[in-house]
């Protein structure tokens, strides 16, 4: 009986650990980031997307979202790098391609008139 109780306790602890790691998953961060991004909280969204990228460095969707958030915060030089990484990871994704094309159009005219990228060293 005592062994059964210990087994149940260990199972509960393991379950708690599993659910904790679940909230730390890239997908969760991505979903949370998108939720706040839709409310216009782009700094918080960028932080969440950074977390998602750290968890899953090869997740093209996370890189794309991070690029959008950086763009919204005016960090265009980093946004460019993130768009490029997203496209590198998923070159056939039409949404990423469209985002990148629109950003590239904006960024080209922006750097042309300012002489250098904002946020660039």
């Amino acid at each position: 009986m005592k062994q059964a109780r210990i087994a149940v306790f260990l199972l509960l602890v393991a379950g708690a650990c599993t659910s904790y790691s679940h909230t730390e998953k890239a997908g969760t961060q991505l979903a949370f980031g998108t939720n706040v991004a839709k409310k216009g909280l782009w700094r918080e969204a960028a932080f969440r997307y950074e977390q998602a990228v750290t968890k899953e460095p090869n997740n093209a969707r996370a890189h794309n979202n991070l690029a959008v958030a950086l763009e919204a915060n005016g960090d265009f030089a980093r946004a460019l790098a993130e768009y490029k990484r997203a496209l590198e990871l998923d070159p056939n994704n039409n949404y990423i391609r469209r985002n990148y094309a629109r950003f590239a159009e904006f960024y080209t005219s922006y750097t042309k008139t300012t002489g250098k990228a904002a946020g660039a060293p």
């Binding site: 991505l30 998108t34 991004a37 969707r61 959008v68 005016g74």
Partner: protein, 233 residues
């Protein structure tokens, strides 16, 4: 296959198909554009005369004679700066004449600009060059049409008349104390109307309104609207 196996297969299909269905949302961004000049925001700005590149064309195109480009542009710029910035806008005295009609030399006329700055007490002086052109374009163009008789697609030649308005502004921003050039920038806009005899002043202001954001961005932060896609999971 048992019911349980079918249920498991459906559950597995949903689970594994999710990444392919990954949700996408379109979001609306307002991209922050930093001002091109690092200013405090409350400087005294003097609007000096601009070189008029179109003077020679006036004799050829009578419609340009109706447009006082210098006055219209000054009025527009003064109004925009007063309305959308906190600068103190000063008009230079009417007797201030540009020392040259060459833009490169004008940018280098440091002594002249320093004297304008001293007489107007302006910290920043704006000058440059203005070019406004009306371009009529007419000719035949081929277009597709579907015949109502046999329903087939044919090509036909149609005569098209268009009027285009070209506005090219070169901005020179100068330091009122030293007369040094702080920035030189060019703004260009071309508008096309699908008929002839469109009013020239109307064309001029259409050009100016489309350049408004870019012009103001020289001095103050502006934003630009954009649409992007984000993934929801």
């Amino acid at each position: 296959m048992s019911r349980r196996a079918v249920a498991l297969a459906v559950a597995a299909a949903i689970l594994f198909a999710t990444p392919a269905w990954a949700g996408v949302d379109q979001v609306h961004l307002r991209l922050p554009l930093k001002p091109k000049l690092p200013l405090r925001g409350n400087e005294r700005i003097a609007l000096a005369p601009f070189i008029l590149v179109t003077e020679a064309d006036k004799a050829r195109d009578k419609r340009l004679a109706n447009v006082d480009l210098q006055a219209e542009f000054h009025r527009f710029l003064k109004k925009q700066l007063e309305k959308k910035t906190k600068f103190e806008v000063i008009e230079t005295p009417a007797d201030v004449k540009l020392p040259t009609q060459n833009l490169t030399e004008l940018a280098k006329a440091q002594e002249f600009w320093a004297s304008v700055g001293a007489s107007t007490t302006a910290e920043i002086i704006v000058s440059g060059s203005l070019e406004f052109k009306i371009e009529d374009r007419s000719g035949y163009k081929s277009e597709e049409y579907v015949s109502p008789i046999d329903g087939r697609t044919y090509y036909r030649q149609v005569y098209v008349e268009q009027t285009g308005f070209l506005f090219d502004i070169v901005f020179l921003v100068l330091d009122g104390r030293t007369g040094e050039k702080l920035l030189q920038d060019e703004f260009k806009d071309f508008r096309q109307a699908s008929k002839r005899s469109v009013d020239e002043l109307q064309g001029l202001f259409e050009n100016l309104f489309s350049l408004e954001n870019q012009i103001l961005n020289t001095f103050v932060a502006r934003d630009r609207e954009a649409e992007r896609y984000i993934f929801t999971d």
